[in-house]
């Protein structure tokens, strides 16, 4: 697998994402600075990592969504390249319009870091095909703005199209319909608040994030 992890000023899960992809898939990962106007060629996966891009000072992900590299990411998304946004990466993908909806302040107004139980709502995406028949999975999350929101029409279409990929078993933050992660209509762009990049081997408390990366690898093998 050939992957790129984007690096914005304030990204802080960039290395975590690189290690997660390398450890789970043995793939090659390039780090790509936000000012780049071209992506490495032949990418199978672009990861938009978590963190606090630009301090999240205006709105989470707002400033990062305007960086030069995001224009390239949009083109790659168009071409069908797999794109995974985790936490701040999810916020950036929403802000840049690659995913519908927005992430609001957590209902409790606090940053919440804790392991969280998820149901896999759609096992047929390229991000979830390697999950077995486990009912729920666990991974940790850490954010202050993970409260997914979409207006009624958008929400309806997200649900109708099977775009909801992960739901919280217990809603931690007020997220509408318990949504923890969604894909775009085409199914190649996933945004999620919990961290598969912190749950890829048992010593981290959970390896339930690993099948997500295995799914992407499987996609390549089947292609």
């Amino acid at each position: 697998m050939k992957a790129a992890v984007l690096v914005f000023p304030g990204s802080n899960c960039d290395r975590d994402c690189k290690v997660a992809v390398e450890t789970t898939t043995g793939g090659h990962v390039d780090m790509v600075w936000h000012q780049e106007t071209a992506l490495p060629s032949g990418l199978d996966l672009i990861v938009v990592p978590g963190g606090f891009s630009y301090g999240d000072y205006l709105r989470c992900g707002a400033m990062a969504s305007q960086s030069p590299v995001m224009a390239e990411v949009a083109k790659a998304a168009e071409r069908g390249v797999s794109i995974l946004g985790i936490c701040n990466g999810f916020q950036i993908l929403c802000e840049s319009g690659l995913l519908p909806g927005a992430l609001l302040r957590n209902a409790g107004l606090k940053y919440i870091c804790k392991p969280i139980e998820l149901t896999i709502e759609n096992r047929n995406t390229r991000f979830t095909s390697a999950y077995g028949d486990e009912q729920t999975i666990w991974m940790t999350q850490g954010n202050a703005d993970g409260n997914f929101f979409a207006d009624a029409d958008t929400l309806q279409s997200i649900e109708d199209n099977g775009q909801v990929v992960f739901r919280y078993v217990e809603n931690p933050n007020g997220s509408i319909n318990n949504i923890a992660g969604i894909v775009n209509k085409a199914g190649n762009v996933l945004g999620m608040m919990p961290h598969p990049d912190r749950a890829f081997e048992p010593s981290l408390g959970s390896a339930d994030g690993a099948p997500l990366f295995h799914s992407l690898q499987r996609l390549l093998q089947s292609a």
Binding site: N12, D16, G51, F52, K110, Y111, I112, C113, G142, F200
Partner: protein, 735 residues
């Protein structure tokens, strides 16, 4: 018209004693000007000069075969062996207080405390990998406490989470003694290559001095700001002296600093902490035995019309001062531009032995560096033996089950989940144990290796209050025990000595005796002090805080598969109590929480026994005989058994094999004890081995069911106990 004060009057106002000021006059042979006075006043402040504590800090053992750099630099450094490519690895760590700022403005005070301690670590070339915080708040009913808790916790999280360093452990107490002075002690642990450590001493003359990071504003300039060179008190609005933290800037600063170091351009480097540009420039030039000139017009400034005095004393955050190797300015500018940081060459090193500052074309300060450090005041402050508590003469009885419930929902003992869930504990994807895990120390992997660091912070202020010497020993011993209990080899400590006014002989006595006790424990346990911080004058209206010498400790686990916690107890396993129980209840949680009594001599600490018992427990962990381990501390055996049962989700049935009354057996706080779970089949072997080693050990229970039971005395459902333990803090905070 404004009133104009004399320089001597200003000297007094800025905390210089008449005889200190006289020394300045003698050394200079003239009156200092206002800027020079400012430089002296901060360099000779308690904070920078350690004038009240320096004499006693010398008692700490500071060397050892694992110590690479002891106290005196920005942080301490220890050797943690080799990395996968044979490179020598080092761990860099320090603890620092931000008590006063956190009381004034809890969010920013705590946030900038975290920022400051991280800079001390990465300025030495280490990437920060773990944060801890030791917090002491006033009693919950005090009108200010809740707001302070709310702000401090949000500030710690707001800063650490954004920078992307996991906060993995800490401690939290509430006591009326902190009503007027909360304590916020933050610790940062970093990793570096042992042969790529950076120091602050300027190596040679003629090198450029580069300022980089955020711009300088009027943040944190003490008291009534001296806003003009005339020092007139005009009617200008009193500026807030609160420093505001910018964690995003800090993140950029970390990356830029580490990249600059990797580029090979750095000759010496120093963060701008308290006393900002003054202490950083004076220390860099002074330690190098050189001189330095700075052109203050070049300093990046956030506000207009800043005076030389303001620039030199500003405590604006997220700033660094570096001395570059010859001709490497371009490397610097390229990296600073990439990370969007302000930067400027503001001066040069020379051989003058002076610090010379120019501003608007004039020399505004010309001081010999020697007197600033060599003649800094050093006090042997008068002290008397501090008050100590006599041994207990009575121990009131209470039903064991009720007492346990009361203890578990008391502010000090209740779960702190509400606060640590606001901290990112997992960023960097190397956290193996954190506040949520059920382990006696935080554990983070040394990235890319099988090694892991264990980290903890400990002190029991009520013991130190009751007997500073024993309490000092106990703080070190408990930290050592917590590292031991996760399977780590304890290596070294940092400390944060929080006390009241040292000019009062009784308080000075607490300081002296606590240090004596800590030093003794460090010596016996081979646990040297490599860095630390002193915070004095924590006192309001003549009421001093309980003496609180916080210990931050680091240990090494060679193979993290051999780590252990107390969350792994399984049904049927046998619980063995290591260490002798005499029934120490002086200054115990049981007395305070159940009977409202704060009295009695604290449990004595037998350091040889600590070593014996701890080494034995570590051997049980290394041989994988131990299946779960928890040290015994506040609240004694029954509280520890609850912790183990709750974290492992299995009940425990204890029996009392001693002659002690049940409530004494349940809650005594004798030191040097551990609760160790082993498989039933190996229990007799462990007891035999303990006997051989001369370690007291007895079987006290078994894992079974869903209740916590002390046979004949108490039986409570684990669920009910957990509920009590978890509910106090959220209810108090109204969440």
């Amino acid at each position: 018209m404004s009133t104009t004060k004399t320089i001597a009057e200003y000297a007094a106002e800025y905390g210089l004693k008449p005889d200190e000021y006289q020394v300045i006059l003698d050394r200079l042979g003239r009156e200092p000007n206002y800027v020079e006075l400012g430089v002296f006043s901060v360099m000779w402040s308690e904070h920078c000069s350690y004038k009240s504590s320096r004499l006693h800090l010398r008692k700490f053992p500071v060397t050892g075969d694992k110590v690479i750099c002891g106290p005196g630099e920005n942080a301490g450094i220890i050797d943690i062996g080799e990395g996968p490519d044979g490179q020598k690895l080092a761990c860099v760590f320090k603890m620092e207080s931000h008590n006063h700022p956190s009381y004034i403005e809890p969010y920013q005070g705590a946030a900038t405390g975290v920022g400051g301690i991280m800079r001390d670590v990465f300025t030495m070339g280490a990437r920060p990998v773990a944060l801890l915080n030791a917090l002491r708040f006033g009693e919950p009913d005090h009108p200010k406490t809740k707001r302070i808790v709310e702000g401090v916790v949000a500030g710690i999280g707001g800063y650490g989470n954004c920078v992307g360093v996991p906060t993995v452990a800490g401690e939290t107490n509430f006591h009326s003694g902190y009503n007027g002075n909360c304590l916020v002690n933050a610790m940062c642990v970093g990793l570096a290559d042992a042969d790529k450590i950076f120091y602050s001493a300027a190596p040679e003359p003629g090198l450029p001095v580069v300022y980089f990071g955020s711009k300088t504003g009027r943040d944190g300039i003490h008291g009534a700001t001296m806003s003009s060179a005339e020092f007139s008190e005009d009617s200008e609005e009193k500026r807030p002296t609160v420093q505001v933290g910018d964690p995003f800037a800090e993140k950029l600063l970390i990356e830029a600093t580490l990249e600059l170091m990797a580029s090979g351009a750095v000759a010496a480097i120093q963060d701008m902490g308290a006393a900002g540009l003054t202490s950083s420039s004076v220390e860099m030039a002074g330690k190098g035995g050189l001189g330095i000139t700075l052109d203050l017009d070049k300093v990046p400034q956030r506000e207009e019309n800043m005076s030389a005095y303001e620039m030199m004393l500003s405590e604006s955050q997220e700033r660094m001062l570096a001395i570059l190797k010859p001709g490497r300015e371009e490397d610097g500018y390229r990296i600073f531009k990439k990370w969007g940081l302000d930067a400027a060459v503001i001066g040069e090193t020379n051989t003058s032995g002076h610090i010379v500052l120019t501003h608007k074309g004039e020399v505004v300060c010309d001081l010999p560096l020697g007197p600033l450090s060599d003649d800094a005041p050093l006090y042997d402050r008068p002290w008397v033996e501090p008050d100590t508590q006599a041994p207990l003469t009575r121990v009131p009885v209470a039903p064991v089950g009720d007492a346990l419930l009361t203890i578990l929902k008391s502010p000090d003992m209740a779960s702190k989940r509400w606060l640590w869930e606001q901290y990112d504990r997992h960023v960097m994807a190397d956290t193996l144990a954190d506040s949520a895990t059920g382990a006696d120390a935080g554990i983070v992997r040394v990235h890319g290796t099988k090694k892991a660091l264990a980290v903890t912070s400990d002190v029991t202020p009520r013991y130190v209050q009751a007997n500073p010497y024993e309490g000092g020993k106990q703080a070190v011993a408990e930290a050592w025990r917590n590292l031991t209990a996760v399977g780590a080899d304890p290596i070294a400590i940092t400390d944060n000595l929080n006390f009241g006014n040292p000019e009062r002989p009784k308080i000075m006595g607490q300081i002296v005796r606590a240090i004596d006790g800590m030093a003794e424990a460090c010596r016996v346990l081979n646990f040297p002090v490599v860095s630390g911080n002193v915070s004095l004058y924590n006192e309001t209206n003549g009421v001093a805080i309980p003496p609180t010498p916080t210990v931050g400790a680091v240990g090494l686990i060679e193979d993290y598969e051999n780590r252990i916690g107390f969350n792994s107890l399984k049904n049927g396993q046998v619980l063995i109590l290591i260490g002798d129980t005499k029934g120490e209840l002086g200054s115990s949680i049981y007395l305070r929480e159940v009977h409202g009594l704060e009295e009695g001599a604290p449990p004595p600490v037998d350091l040889e026994l600590e070593k014996l018992n701890g080494d034995f427990v570590r051997s049980l962990i290394h041989t994988k005989t131990a299946k779960a381990v928890h040290d015994l501390s506040d609240g004694g055996l029954l509280t520890a058994a609850f912790d183990v049962a709750a974290a492992s989700n299995v009940g425990i049935e204890l029996k009392n094999p001693t002659d002690l009354e049940d409530h004494v057996f349940a809650f005594a706080e004798d030191q040097a004890r551990y609760l160790v779970a082993v498989d039933e089949a190996s229990a007799h072997l462990v007891l035999a081995r303990a006997a051989e080693a001369g370690v007291a050990a007895q079987t006290v229970g078994v894992a079974t069911g869903t209740d916590l039971v002390l046979a004949g005395a108490a039986s409570l459902s684990l669920e009910a106990l957990k509920q009590a333990h978890e509910s106090w803090l959220p209810a108090y905070m109204g969440a």
